[in-house]
Every structure is written in structure tokens, then in C-alpha cells.
């Protein structure tokens, strides 16, 4: 059986990055949840490594080979885990720019888990006010639990511990993958025969 392809997109800038760490934990939890029935391969895309290529894509309109490969990986993934640091009350500009160049059909129907990191829990609703609407626009299927990790969460305990929220969100993503897998990526060059294009314009 072909393994699930899970792709993590992380916009963390430091190395090592807590945003990357959160993405890794979410991916690992999802992988374990799915393991009993089907293995999952995890691919992590660090946007920091593609930052300059993303800016160049903005200017020229086409991706470099490395960026094209990352965009294809996201478009072809069975599920996406998207993690951004919260900057200035929202996702980082780099995070948004990556999805701007991805194109607005690549995520249609794809299961997506959103997560974010920040210095304080006061910014946690940026997930609901910024990331969730963006993925709704892209017609992705976003799981109900979004995971926010503030600095203090890395030492949290009990029912609201970060690990509990990671487990719940990953479980939702795994359940969605089982029951509502991402649709196959549409062919880029599907052509409507010309006679049909003309007929569609004929006055009634």
C-alpha cells in the first residue's frame, strides 16, 4: 500500500525553530495515528530556505526549480500541516507569500492542519482570524482544532498541555484523511474541445 504523503510547511525563521518543532510534533502524531492501517511519509518544507526564491517568483511570475519542486510537493500531498510564527498580529509575510505563489486551486479539498507559534498566548486567535480564512478561501478542508504554541506551552501539563492539543489535532487530520482523502490533482492541460467552448457562448 502506498504511504500517505504528509507535507509540513513551516515558516519559522530561526534555526532551530520552535515553529519547525511544532510542525514536526504534529506530523509525528499524525503519522502514529495512521500507522496501524497505512504508513505515512513526512516531508518538511522550510520556507526560510526558499525565501529568496519566493520573492523572485513574485517578481518574475515563475518559480525556480527548487521552489517548483516544493510547490509540486504541496499540491501532490495527501495532507498538509501548515505552521507559521505569528508576526504583527497575523501569519508571517513569508508564509502568506508561499501560498500566494502556490496558486488558488492547489489545495482544493485537501485536509489541512493549521498551527502557529508566538511569544505570548495573546496572539493565539490569529489562527482563527487569519490562517483559517485564508485556507477557507483556498477551499482546503481545515480540521477544527488549530494548535497554538506560546513560549510557556513548551512546559505545559494536564488536559490543556501542548501535547494533548497536538494529539487531538493530529487525530482529526488522520480521521479526515481516512474518510475524506484529498482529490487527485487536476491535470494542468485539460482542454475543453473548441466546439464546446463556442457552443457555450451561443445566445439562448
Amino acid at each position: 500500500m502506498l504511504p500517505y504523503q504528509l507535507v509540513v510547511v513551516t515558516a519559522g525563521l530561526s534555526k532551530p525553530s520552535s515553529t519547525r518543532l511544532l510542525g514536526d510534533r504534529l506530523a509525528e502524531a499524525a503519522r502514529q495515528d495512521l500507522a496501524a492501517e497505512r504508513p505515512a511519509e513526512v516531508r518538511v518544507i522550510e520556507l526560510r530556505d526558499l525565501a529568496v526564491d519566493i520573492a523572485k517568483n513574485m517578481v518574475t511570475g515563475f518559480p525556480s526549480p527548487a521552489l517548483a519542486e516544493a510547490l509540486d510537493a504541496v499540491a501532490g500531498a495527501d495532507a498538509l500541516i501548515a505552521v507559521s510564527p505569528i508576526f504583527t498580529a497575523s501569519y508571517s509575510g513569508l508564509f502568506k507569500s508561499f501560498f500566494d505563489v502556490l496558486g488558488n486551486t492547489a489545495l482544493e479539498g485537501k485536509p489541512v492542519l493549521i498551527a502557529a507559534t508566538g511569544g505570548t498566548a495573546r496572539h493565539s486567535l490569529a489562527l482563527e482570524h487569519a490562517l483559517r480564512p485564508m485556507f477557507a478561501y483556498l477551499r482546503a478542508t481545515v480540521v477544527p482544532t488549530a494548535v497554538y504554541a506560546a513560549s510557556e506551552d513548551w512546559a505545559s501539563t494536564g488536559d490543556s498541555a501542548l501535547s494533548a492539543r497536538v494529539g487531538r489535532a493530529a487525530g482529526e487530520l488522520a480521521a479526515l484523511l481516512r474518510h475524506r482523502p484529498a482529490p487527485a490533482a487536476p491535470s494542468r492541460d485539460t482542454v475543453v474541445p473548441f466546439a464546446e467552448q463556442l457552443a457555450a457562448l451561443r445566445p439562448a
Binding site: A55, K56, M58, V59, T60, G61, F62, S64, P65, R188, D189, T190, V191, V192, P193, F194, A195, Q197, L198, A200, L201, P203
Partner: protein
């Protein structure tokens, strides 16, 4: 095979000294470039059509008519004529008139245009770009082939008993290329009519255009116009040459770095690697252009973008001298080697008259 130049018609400051040509100077420069193109042995001059600054060519048939009067052999064309926002009736009239004045040395390339506000300025909706291109061209095609037209469509007022005048020269309309950067629908449209397909080819990696051209060739055969290899393919290219490669790079870099479209983005080295832009010696331009045949098959027309990004007219004319003296003769010779006899050459009025006669038999 035909070789030529196509101009966007941008007024761009020269980044090396900040000087900006006036609109008048730029318009006259475009004419000078066209006349030079004929002088150095090129076959085609094509002008863009734009309706906003910093571009000057809003009225292509006026410019091309003026050039037609001052040239003998040059084919006058466009890159592109806006099929979405121009009235197809006016295109039919204007280009038929130009075709008569130029004794058939006219073809045109149709495109949708990607400047958002131009659509509402001309009473259209950019979201209807493809349907506009489909319907407007269907009408244009009919106006040039049917003497009295009754027509009703979605986007323009109906026509009853309309005759577009003058009728095309010798009853054969100007050859039409359909230009597209990304839409398979336009490749399909070109194939359906047996028209040409022009891949801009500059600014983007070749893999993208290989897909579109393969689709066009396959559908051209599907619609019974010939084999895939006989379809009419045109390609864009962009070059800057000096005798020594390093001199070309040194001189062109400031223009590249500030160029509209790709300036302030990738380095010259990255861009030449990822797109067909070639900056170097004439031999490097020859080698790179000859490789287009390996990627796209034998093709009919090669146009080069030579005059954008604020390059001074003097430099552009020098570039055309190099192109005409050192590059094109070699390309003509080399592209002819092993070219199958049944692959058509670049379309001319004479070849279109012959093609129409063959279909009529």
C-alpha cells in the same frame, strides 16, 4: 523560416543615465527599428498594443501603415492585437485595409491582454477574457470569409446584413497567430482554425511552452489541418550580443537589473539559465536559438525582443546589425538542414493564397 523583431513599445528610463525618451522619440524609434529590420535582412516587425502608460503603441495599424509605405519586403505584424477589448468588426476593417496598402505583407497575433483596467475602460470584464477571445475571434474569422454576415453573440451588438470592407486582398485574410502565455484554451483555439500559435517564450522557462506547443500541434492534427509537425509555430526570444561575451554581460546588466517585468528579481545569470534570454556572443545566440528546434520542433517564425528596458536606440540598431550580419544568415542555413520538405515555411500572403487554393480544390 522567418526571423524578426517584436517590440513592446515601452517608454522606460535608461538606467545608466536616467534619460527618458519622449513618446514622440519612442514612436519614431520603433519606426527606425522596423526600417532597420528590413535593411539588415529580417522578415518581420511586430508591435505590441497597449492602452496605458508607459507604452506608446495604442494604434498599431497607423504605425504599421506608415512602416508599410517605407518598406518593400518586411511583414508587418502585431504582438499582440487585443481580441478581447477591440471590436472584432474594427479589427476586420483595419487589418484588411492595412493588408491592401501593404500588398499583403500583413499578419497579426491575437492576445487577450493582461492589464486589468483595460477591460473596464473598453467596456469589458476581465473574468470573461477567454469567452471574449473565443467569441470575438469567431466573428472576426467569419467577417473576413463571408461577404454578408448575419451574426448574434453575447458580447457585442448583433449584425444583420453587414459587410466588412475592404474585403481581404485576393479573398485571403491575413494570417493569424494566437499568442498565449498560459492558456491551453488558446492553443486549442489556434488548432481548431488551423491558425498559428505563438509562444512568447521569453520571461518563462521553456518546459511551460513545450507543453502548450505540444498540445497545439496534437490538436492541429486532430482537426485535420495536417500533421502535428506541419502546424504553424512561432517563438519569442530575447538576446543581447557583443563580440565578446563578457562585454555583452557587462553592458546589458544594468538594463537587466532594472528591466520592467523581471528587474529587481533574479540575477542575470539565473534568468539566462532558467529562460531563453541569451546575453553573450553572436555564436552563443546562434547555439541557444538553434536549440529551440530540439525543444519545440521545426517552426516557422522566430521573433526577438531587442528594444526594451530603456536600451538606447543607437544600441538597438547596433544589435540589429549584429543580428542581421552574423546571426540570422547562420540560423537560416542551420534551420534548413534536415528540415522535412512537407513542413511549411513562415506564412506569407503568397503562401496563404496557395493554401486557400489547395483547400478549394
Amino acid at each position: 523560416m522567418q526571423f524578426g523583431v517584436f517590440s513592446v513599445g515601452d517608454v522606460t528610463p535608461d538606467p545608466t543615465d536616467g534619460s527618458v525618451p519622449s513618446e514622440h522619440e519612442r514612436i519614431k524609434a520603433m519606426v527606425a527599428i522596423a526600417l532597420k529590420a528590413e535593411e539588415v535582412g529580417l522578415d518581420v516587425f511586430a508591435t505590441g498594443e497597449h492602452h496605458n502608460p508607459p507604452f506608446v503603441p495604442s494604434s498599431p495599424t497607423t504605425m504599421l501603415g506608415f512602416i508599410a509605405a517605407r518598406t518593400e519586403r518586411l511583414i508587418l505584424s502585431t504582438a499582440t492585437t487585443l481580441i478581447t477589448t477591440n471590436d472584432p468588426v474594427k479589427i476586420a476593417e483595419d487589418y484588411a485595409m492595412l493588408q491592401h496598402l501593404a500588398d499583403g505583407r500583413v499578419d497579426l497575433m491575437l492576445g487577450r491582454g493582461n492589464t486589468g483596467p483595460v477591460y473596464p475602460w473598453f467596456g469589458q470584464d476581465i473574468r470573461m477574457g477567454i469567452p471574449l477571445a473565443v467569441e470575438n475571434y469567431a466573428l472576426l474569422h467569419e467577417l473576413w470569409r463571408t461577404d454578408v454576415v448575419d451574426w448574434e453573440g453575447r458580447f457585442r451588438t448583433p449584425l444583420q446584413g453587414f459587410t466588412s470592407t475592404p474585403r481581404p486582398l485576393d479573398g485571403v485574410p491575413p494570417f493569424v497567430w494566437h499568442g498565449s502565455i498560459r492558456s491551453p484554451e488558446i492553443a486549442e483555439q489556434a488548432a481548431y482554425y488551423g491558425d498559428g500559435f505563438f509562444a512568447n517564450n521569453i520571461f518563462w522557462p521553456k518546459e511551460h511552452f513545450i507543453r502548450l506547443i505540444s498540445l497545439y500541434r496534437e490538436r492541429y492534427a486532430h482537426y485535420g489541418h495536417g500533421t502535428p509537425e506541419q502546424a504553424y509555430v512561432g517563438l519569442g526570444g530575447q538576446v543581447f550580443m557583443r563580440k565578446n561575451s563578457q562585454d555583452a554581460v557587462r553592458e546589458f546588466r544594468p538594463y537587466f537589473d532594472k528591466a520592467p517585468v523581471y528587474g529587481n528579481g533574479p540575477s542575470l545569470e539565473e534568468f539566462t539559465e532558467q529562460t531563453p534570454l541569451t546575453v553573450g556572443s553572436p555564436q552563443e545566440v546562434i547555439d541557444r536559438t538553434l536549440a529551440f528546434r530540439e525543444h519545440f520542433g521545426d517552426y516557422q517564425r522566430q521573433l526577438f525582443l531587442m528594444d526594451h528596458a530603456g536600451l538606447p536606440l543607437k544600441t538597438v540598431l547596433e544589435q540589429l546589425d549584429i543580428l542581421g550580419e552574423e546571426v540570422i544568415p547562420v540560423l537560416r542555413r542551420e534551420f534548413a538542414v534536415n528540415r522535412p520538405a512537407d513542413v511549411p515555411g513562415g506564412p506569407t500572403h503568397a503562401s496563404q493564397v496557395a493554401r486557400a487554393a489547395a483547400v478549394a480544390v
